[in-house]
């Protein structure tokens, strides 16, 4: 058996790949659900109902999808340039912390819209800085950014713990380790009344479109792609490699930081050390399922959010452990990687 590179990658194959990957993943996970003594069909039906069965369920799923779109974009733009940003989780938390810290009192004098924009920008800068460091370490010293960004996730989470139990502790939280709340006037308005769904979803969708345009229509987008495909050839063709990758890092880290900001300014209102159910890591799965395409990221985010919100409801109804959501997500990642391979290679006996 050997692999042979296809002459060209068909768009149809790229579009079919994620659906095939998800179908195979759901098939494989059916076995695990059956082990819990529950019919997989019942379980999957319960998941769909839990994620879309009511107005509330739909808004919850979309609320969950909003930060995922941004962490998914963060991973996608970085991976496209072969910058392995696995630090989305840390960048999310630092963005959240900055939004809460500044949004509590500092910006009370500004007009609301301007204040929110400043908060988001500040969170993006914090996330960007957190990724620029490891990127420079890789470019200057050859330190693998996968390891440094992963380790930074642990460091940032401890730092958040330090802040919410120390300088940013909410004195009115009855001793619970949570940060001071964002000023009520600075919270993002609701999108649907009587739900947690907020304007953050619109922000995320707009950002996805903008990233899509930047990637397909600008010089920076072309340089990113070139740097990812073949750095040496790109450098030879005059692409400033260091500058391009630092810009990619700023964009990627900034997007993950923005995810933290909209979560705090939207549904959460304050920061805790458990506020992210792995948004950063799930963003990697989202990016891969989307084959790194910005608009694909939106669809993949809705899928992952469906799995998570649906699994919680399904778990309550059937007793299947809700960790099945993490299993489905990770198996989808592995099947998607395999499916992507077959869009670029064919097997010859």
């Amino acid at each position: 058996m050997r692999f042979e590179r296809r002459e060209e990658v068909s768009v149809t194959a790229l579009v079919i790949a994620p659906f095939a990957a998800i179908a195979v993943a759901l098939g494989l996970c059916a076995g695990l659900i059956a082990m819990a003594g529950v019919s997989p069909l019942t379980a999957y039906a319960e998941m769909l109902r839990g994620a879309f069965g009511s107005r509330l369920a739909v808004t919850e799923t979309m609320t969950r999808a909003s930060p995922l779109i941004l962490t998914g974009l963060a991973a996608a733009v970085a991976f496209r340039a072969r910058l392995w940003n696995i630090g989305g989780e840390g960048q999310f938390y630092i963005g959240a912390l900055v939004a809460a810290g500044l949004g509590h009192s500092l910006l009370s004098g500004l007009p609301v819209a301007l204040a929110i924009a400043v908060l988001m920008l500040a969170s993006m800068m914090a996330g960007a800085l957190l990724l620029i460091g490891p990127t420079l370490l890789r470019l200057r010293l050859g330190v693998d950014e996968v390891v440094t960004t992963l380790l930074l996730n642990f460091i940032v989470l401890l730092f958040v713990g330090l802040m919410v139990e120390g300088p940013l502790k909410d004195p009115l939280a009855f001793g619970w380790p949570q940060s001071v709340p964002v000023a009520a006037g600075l919270r993002l308005p609701d999108l649907v009344p009587r739900s947690r769904l907020h304007v953050g979803l619109v922000v995320a969708l707009m950002v996805a479109v903008i990233v899509g345009i930047v990637q397909s229509r600008t010089v920076f987008g072309a340089e990113t792609r070139a740097a990812g495909l073949n750095p040496r050839a790109a450098a030879f063709a005059g692409v400033p490699l260091l500058g391009t990758l630092v810009k990619v890092a700023a964009l990627s880290g900034g997007l993950a930081g923005l995810a933290g900001a909209i979560e705090v300014l939207g549904p959460a209102g304050y920061v805790t050390t458990t506020m992210s159910p792995g948004f950063g890591y799930a963003g990697i799965v989202v990016a891969m399922l989307a084959a790194l395409h910005p608009l694909g990221v939106v669809a993949a985010s809705v899928f992952v959010a469906t799995v998570f919100v649906g699994a919680d409801a399904m778990s309550r109804a059937t007793g299947v452990p809700s960790f099945i959501a993490d299993v489905i997500m990770s198996v989808s990642l592995l099947t998607m990687l395999t499916a992507l391979l077959f869009t670029t290679y064919r097997i010859r006996a």
């Binding site: 696995i86 330090l162 299993v327 990642l333 990687l337």
Partner: protein, 313 residues
């Protein structure tokens, strides 16, 4: 200052160093074997989690402690085989598939644990490995308590360092493995199958990683809980670089690292007014610092992270 000195003079610190180092020694050796054959195994964090869960569960279900370790190693091998199939046979990105393996293996471990184990207010416990006093040696003053009163898996970890160094540097198998990591084409030219060697290396390395995880639940603690591996796998990946891919230096790195960790744990209780999170950050910060310090002279195996496809350059 005298606080610090008191801590250093206490044999219990040095005993703790070896105890904290044990899972790291297993993990770093495992990662090293994979990388010397040319495969970066970022599945380590998940494989350690699987080892921790499976080792514990085997004992919880009535197996003895050594059976627990063996079953954990076998489970680690299976996960390693999956990583090898994806990265070696299919040649997928070792970064992304390694992360995928970590996400998958930890999720599966948590899922099966929840499915099979009734968890009340506190996680159920097992009777873990007890310190094994080596006759004659454990009664020596200071060293006896510091070095020779460890649990059996710690001695096993030290043995594995010697075994790994021997196999890598002194046997034809080790030579073939190292050559696969440097130049798989040359291995092929010798009539050997580089991909088979890589798959074997990843499975062997993953077994060691799983043992590191199993140590946590069968010797260091006596129960399993999610997120208990706490980034130890990632720290091992950093330690491999720090050790410039050599088993002896890997042991040294793990011990040095464990020393700082044990020291900060004790310092934490004697220093007031410093947030405990700063101490907890130390291991991760230290790993990054270690990476930066050796970055200039680190020389990874030549073919690390390059999939080998016959007839393709």
């Amino acid at each position: 200052m005298s606080d610090a000195l008191d801590i250093l003079m206490n044999a219990s610190l040095w005993a703790a160093v070896l105890r904290i180092a044990t899972p790291l020694i297993f993990g770093v050796l495992g990662a090293l074997i994979c990388e010397r054959a040319g495969v970066l195994n970022l599945g380590i964090e998940g494989i350690m989690t699987v080892g921790a869960m499976v080792g514990w569960l085997t004992v919880f279900w009535g197996g003895d402690l050594w059976t627990g370790l063996i079953v954990a190693a076998l489970a680690g091998m299976l996960v390693g085989l999956l990583h090898a199939l994806l990265t070696v046979s299919l040649g997928l990105s070792q970064h992304v598939s390694g992360l995928g393996i970590t996400l998958f293996a930890s999720a599966l471990a948590y899922y099966l644990y929840r499915l099979w184990v009734e968890v009340g207010d506190l996680p159920p416990t097992i009777e873990p490995f007890q310190p094994l006093a080596l006759p004659g040696l454990s009664t020596l003053p200071f060293v006896g308590e510091a070095v020779f009163s460890q649990t059996a898996p710690t001695y096993l970890a030290l043995l594995m360092v010697a075994a790994t160094a021997y196999v890598l540097n002194r046997t034809p198998l080790g030579l073939a493995l190292r050559m696969t990591g440097e130049n798989p084409h040359a291995v092929e030219a010798q009539g050997l199958n580089p991909n088979a060697i890589r798959i074997g290396a990843v499975m062997a390395g993953s077994a060691l990683m799983a043992l590191g995880g199993a140590f946590l639940t069968t010797a260091a603690f006596n129960s399993f809980f999610p997120t208990m591996v706490q980034g130890r796998g990632w720290i091992c990946i950093a330690l491999v670089v720090f050790a410039s891919w050599r088993p002896g230096k890997a042991l040294l790195g793990a011990l040095l690292f464990a020393f700082f960790d044990a020291f900060q744990l004790r310092l934490q209780t004697s220093v007031d007014g410093v947030p405990y999170q700063l101490f907890l950050m130390a291991p991760y910060v230290l790993s990054i610092v270690a990476l930066i310090l050796v970055a200039r002279r680190a020389r990874a195996p030549e073919a690390l992270m390059q999939p080998y496809r016959r007839g393709e350059r």
